[in-house]
């Protein structure tokens, strides 16, 4: 059924295709094996690459026009009737225009609608704030029953889409515009929903990242090792909800310094989810969040925006360096703590 058995997808293609295109292909393949799967969009078949699916399964593809609220309501009705709908639109519209339909029709009724939210974060670049989406993780993770996944690249998107079919409830998968460089060169790195992937082990600092920030964080860790002699652990926290508590707590005790990096407002997303785990543990830890600093994003090419918000390797490395002075002690003396 949804375990990906028999799919012909190979990583060879991943190098030449965007996450959106990979999504379209993987969904088409999953549908060959599972008659419950259908695809929907809101006039963004080409933009979200679900058109690839449409060509393969024209009778199982439904374009609802520019009507995102209806898109989510219709998907809920289909799911209530035994189908597994994959609904694709831009993240800004999936999470905000149709937020109440996602919450009340889909999440409240715990229906297996899989939302593929593309062009998330600032990946839409020159489209500007109307089409950027730096709020969706905060919104989606506050909906009970919702699983929230931010794949690091196209390969991980393929893994996430396959895994989503087998999750009985709703899933929100957040991907970019599709021009992001690949990070994984194989699908077989042990992707598991709710379990972070340790991209690199380290003992001085842990960077917890998701989405495009994973590749940049790994590069930052390499720079820090090379130039500063720092041992940096990098966790790909692809599942924002349920968050991998164990990996966060291990990072607290092993490295005592944690930096979260995400293409999202620093309020409410990955950084907030990680900080909740840390604070609830009662353990002390130097902690900082790197992301969009609670402001609206300017117009520009995505790479310029990432640089502007320090979401690239050098910016991340600088933040890690700034955390080195934040020390913690084992004693009971709180006066000299951060």
């Amino acid at each position: 059924m949804g375990d990906g058995t028999g799919t012909t997808w190979t990583c060879y293609d991943a190098a030449t295709m965007t996450a959106r295109e990979i999504y379209g292909h993987v969904l088409a393949e999953l549908s060959d094996a599972d008659p419950r799967i259908v695809g929907l969009t809101a006039d963004l078949a080409k933009s979200t690459a679900i058109a690839i699916y449409e060509r393969r399964h024209p009778d199982r593809f439904f374009n609802m026009g520019i009507a995102e609220q209806n898109l989510m309501g219709v998907a809920a009705g289909m799911a209530k009737t035994g189908l597994i709908p994959f609904a694709s639109t831009f993240a800004a519209f999936a999470s905000m225009r149709a937020a109440e339909q996602v919450r009340t029709d889909i999440a409240y009724q715990n229906l297996p609608v899989k939302i593929i939210a593309t062009h998330a974060g600032v990946s839409f670049g020159s489209a500007g704030t109307t089409h950027h989406c730096t709020e969706d993780l905060a919104i989606m993770r506050s909906f009970a029953n919702m699983t929230v996944i931010v794949p690091a690249d196209g390969t991980e998107t393929a893994n996430a889409v396959r895994a989503a079919v087998d999750i009985p409830g709703p899933v929100y998968i957040r991907i970019g515009r599709g021009f992001e460089p690949p990070f994984y060169d194989s699908e077989d790195y042990g992707f598991e929903v709710g379990r972070s992937h340790t991209v690199r082990d380290g003992s001085d600092v842990t960077i917890i990242a998701c989405g495009i920030a994973v590749l940049q964080s790994a590069e930052a860790a390499r720079l820090l090792q090379e130039h500063d002699g720092l041992s940096v652990r990098v966790l790909n926290m692809h599942t924002i909800k349920p968050i991998d508590r164990e990996a966060v707590l291990n990072a607290v005790s092993d490295t005592r310094r944690i930096l979260t990096v995400e293409e999202h407002n620093v309020l409410g997303g990955l950084g907030s989810a990680v900080s909740e785990v840390i604070v609830e543990s009662g353990k002390g830890c130097a902690f900082q969040k790197l992301g969009i600093p609670d402001e609206y994003s300017p117009v520009g090419y995505p790479e310029d925006l990432y640089a502007h918000f320090h979401l690239e390797a050098n910016g991340i490395a600088d933040h890690v360096r700034s955390m080195l002075d934040l020390e913690f002690e084992e004693d009971e003396d709180w006066e000299d703590e951060v």
């Binding site: 209806n70 289909m78 009340t104």
Partner: protein
């Protein structure tokens, strides 16, 4: 296909029973959306006791007709109908509005046997009904989906998104009913936000529009019969029935009164309401005999 005398009398009795239930539940639970509950009763009775292909013994039967109460605040009427149709014991409604109950102001599909969709936030039901109708077609099933909209609810833009999509996909297996009681919380629909010409708008949105008296069982039944014939046609327009109703129907001091959108009933009002229902019906049985009957 029309109603014979026996059928008509039986359905009228059931509608009266449900109206008495609504008064009783409203009295006992401290408050309910009684006005819009009373206006939709005849529509629900005709669906649940004549037209819907359902089996209370198999509430999850895959081939059952689906029903979505898009005007979810009429839950007080809906759950009374489900109970009297045999989906669950009537006594369960004793918990209405209380802590942890399956029954509150708006229906919860995960808690209420026979309820196909959780509704209450206006404008959400019809899109889900469209999804069910599309799914039926995809799954090769012949069941139909019925959806009741409130007229005030038609202020919501997403209602028109859904109507547009139903027509685009030629969903003849979807039957939409508008409970046109002409009142919303703040006043008459035409004063708060004009809907007229409603029939023309629905028609312009690609629906086959039938306009009926929503309290005339013969007219309603004929409209549902016609919708069934449309559903059997391979192609065509989805049917939308505009059922002209009276908010608070059956309880004289509530009829057409904005104040009774939501309300509570003390012992004295309960007595008056029951007396009014008894008078309006010409039913020889008293309310006492019918309640919990």
């Amino acid at each position: 296909m029309g109603l014979d005398d026996e059928q008509r009398r039986r359905l009228q009795d059931q509608a009266l029973d449900i109206r008495r239930d609504i008064v009783e539940i409203t009295h006992r639970s401290g408050g309910a959306h009684i006005g819009g509950g009373l206006s939709v009763v005849d529509i629900l009775v005709l669906l649940y006791f004549k037209h819907l292909n359902i089996d209370p013994q198999r509430p999850d039967w895959e081939d059952r007709d689906r029903f979505v109460l898009s005007k979810g605040h009429a839950a007080v009427a809906f759950v009374a109908v489900l109970a009297r149709r045999g989906f669950f014991p009537f006594e369960e409604l004793d918990t209405f509005n209380t802590f942890g109950s399956a029954f509150g102001m708006h229906p919860d599909s995960l808690r209420i046997t026979g309820c196909d969709a959780s509704t209450g936030s206006l404008g959400h039901g019809l899109p889900m009904a469209v999804g069910m109708a599309l799914a039926a077609r995809r799954l090769g099933k012949t069941f139909r989906t019925f959806c009741v909209l409130g007229d005030g609810e038609c202020n919501e833009g997403v209602v028109w998104e859904a109507l547009m999509s139903a027509a685009h996909y030629s969903l003849t297996n979807l039957i939409t009913i508008v409970d046109r009681n002409r009142l919303m919380i703040d006043g008459p629909t035409e004063e708060i936000m004009s809907l007229e010409p409603l029939e023309e708008k629905l028609s312009a949105f690609g629906h086959e529009v039938l306009s009926v008296n929503g309290h005339d069982l013969d007219e309603l039944s004929e409209a549902f019969d016609r919708a069934e014939r449309v559903a059997q046609a391979a192609e065509g327009k989805p049917v939308c029935i505009v059922a002209h109703t009276v908010k608070g129907k059956g309880v004289d001091f509530m009829e057409g009164q904005v104040a009774w959108h939501y309300g509570s009933i003390d012992d004295e009002l309960r007595r008056k309401a029951r007396a009014s229902l008894d008078r309006s019906s010409g039913d020889e049985r008293s309310s006492e005999e019918v309640l919990h009957g």
